[in-house]
Assembly symmetry: C2
């Protein structure tokens, strides 16, 4: 069959080399005669692998020793609850920056656990373009328990590249769709979380990188599996972790290190995004209305000027092995999610197809 390039926003494609290795050792991992998913999380061989995965992640992201790395259950949405449960004491409020679907959902969920101050930074321009309030103009509350934002909005294709200066208030970021895609300075953040199913591994695993000072303040009614202090005290094994997902994440980290780390992949990611945006911008057959500086490098939504061709576009793309290009139901159109695992060949195949489709439709 034709090689498939899968543009799904998540669960997303994983690196081919990782999948091949995982397949080869699927039923006999490290000569144990068992699958890694059949081993006790407390066996020495599993724990060594788990610790190595954490060490590789620390290395890739230059995570300082005074941050804990937690491998959690519950997905990104689980963190929508866990963050206020752990970081928002009674009598304090938290600032939630809203620039798209996921940051909006995070704020709505947080309201069940405390006083939330919603700050909308999205600006719809009169020329139809979508822009944002610049980070240094966000009306932040200096007394907030924390500031929450989502640097990359998967549905909307909006990315915030500048890291806001919160004047000492802990900054919390939902990096589900950008983690490991470009270099960031972890020390600027109080907490970073990410559902695995975009740049890390299969769904069901969530990473939390949290400054030690933020541990130990959870509300009483915090479910034990969401309590960061409990997880940190037990090396993320207070309850049985999603062991197979952790293993696959570890393989992805090794793959990324071999490739040259985050700096190397960031360069490739930029090339991929540039190639696709150039194709969109050089044609009036396709559009993307996000202001240049806020365009996502991971999730690129685009619209056909003639929307009656949407169905035809999707069917023909699928026939070429270019799958999952349908835009999110909230925004419509098309969306190409091009995370770390998407090779440049996949984006090249997509732009070749787009040009051919445009020609055929004219």
């Amino acid at each position: 069959m034709t090689e498939v390039f899968n543009f799904c926003a998540g669960p997303a494609m994983l690196p081919k080399a990782v999948m091949t290795k995982a397949q080869n050792e699927f039923i006999n991992w490290n000569d144990t005669g068992s699958s890694v998913m059949e081993l006790s999380h407390r066996s020495s061989i599993y724990m060594a692998m788990a610790a190595e995965a954490e060490a590789d992640l620390r290395d890739l992201m230059a995570i300082p020793d005074n941050y804990k790395v937690l491998f959690c259950h519950g997905g990104g949405r689980g963190q929508f609850s866990a963050v206020p449960l752990n970081l928002l004491p009674q009598g304090k409020s938290a600032d939630y920056i809203v620039n798209g679907s996921w940051s909006k959902a995070a704020a709505a969920e947080a309201k069940n656990f405390g006083d939330i101050n919603v700050i909308n930074i999205r600006e719809e321009r009169s020329d139809g373009a979508t822009s944002l309030t610049a980070v240094n103009q966000w009306p932040l509350n200096n007394d907030a328990a924390y500031v929450h934002y989502c640097p990359n909005e998967t549905v909307d294709g909006i990315e915030i590249n500048d890291i806001p200066d919160t004047h000492g208030v802990p900054l919390v970021a939902d990096m589900s769709s950008t983690i490991l895609s470009h270099e960031i300075d972890v020390t600027k953040f109080g907490l970073i979380y990410a559902g695995a199913q975009k740049n890390i591994g299969p769904s069901g695993l969530t990473l939390v990188i949290v400054h030690e000072d933020l541990l130990g303040h959870a509300q009483l009614a915090t479910p034990c599996i969401m309590n960061y202090q409990t997880s940190a005290n037990n090396d993320s094994m207070y309850n049985t972790p999603p062991t197979y997902s952790w293993y696959l994440a570890g393989l992805v980290f090794k793959w990324l290190k071999e490739l040259g780390g985050v700096k190397a992949i960031a360069k490739i990611n930029k090339e991929k995004a540039d190639l696709l945006y150039q194709t969109i911008d050089s044609s009036n057959f396709y559009t993307n209305n996000i202001e240049q500086q806020y365009r996502s490098k991971m999730n690129i939504p685009f619209w056909l000027t003639d929307e009656s061709l949407n169905e035809k576009f999707l069917i023909q793309a699928e026939q070429q092995g270019l799958t999952a290009l349908k835009g999110h139901r909230i925004v419509g159109g098309m969306r190409a999610s091009i995370y770390n695992a998407m090779p440049i060949e996949g984006v090249q195949a997509l732009v070749d197809f787009m040009k051919k489709f445009e020609k055929g439709a004219r």
Copy 2:
């Protein structure tokens, strides 16, 4: 290498036929050119598989239409919080039956979310045997919001075969280690939950089977991923589910159906347990002190009369491909977990080894 029989209590071994099939289609599932873990949970092909897995489970357990089946994140411990958050309103209390480590932990966690009445039913006899209060003598509170119990205690090797009559109070059971191992009458329960990593699939997935009448009463501060009504309204896809684990669970359900269903596996499970208990009881080299009628058919702890031989026993067993036999740190000794996926050949190999080891040690 020697065939490995893995007696781990969980994550546990999975059926060989399932693992072989999963390996074969690991990187190209159903001719999609992608792994099942790389597909959107909202793609029609994934959703069809997910629905089929649910239908197969309903079929295997004869789950009536007025029960919802939820595929959740968070493991069994997640349900320790989710149960009171969903079922325990202010002003009511819940009865928690304690007969071992897991039921005790469930009660302790529930106290963070409401008024919990702990009922200890464990009886240590003067002859050293462990017994339980009979189910019809449990001092239940007729006004309780629900009664929670754990029919099989994995650490302790204690099983309660009779289903208590709670006089209309919803009965909640943690069936993590017994689900699908023998027939049960689902209509006797308000809610059944089970972490997947023993009889269902890999860790990270949790099944909840809940009567419709119990939905819609969650406390305000219930994390969205733990809200049963929200999950039910969204076919367990309010957030991205652990898609690969769901798929593997589906394969396990198909395997079990082909094998003849729960009735057929229950017969094999009884044979396996009988074989092992007979070996223990016919020797004074090995002991198990649980009263006959409460002995677990899934997790069989046993002790060497001469505990100085423990290390030697474990090393030699491992050399024979009999792995993960070390008992839980709380109770010590040995433990053989023999869930559905453990073939009778594995138990036969274990008892052969036990007899040989005893002979050699005398």
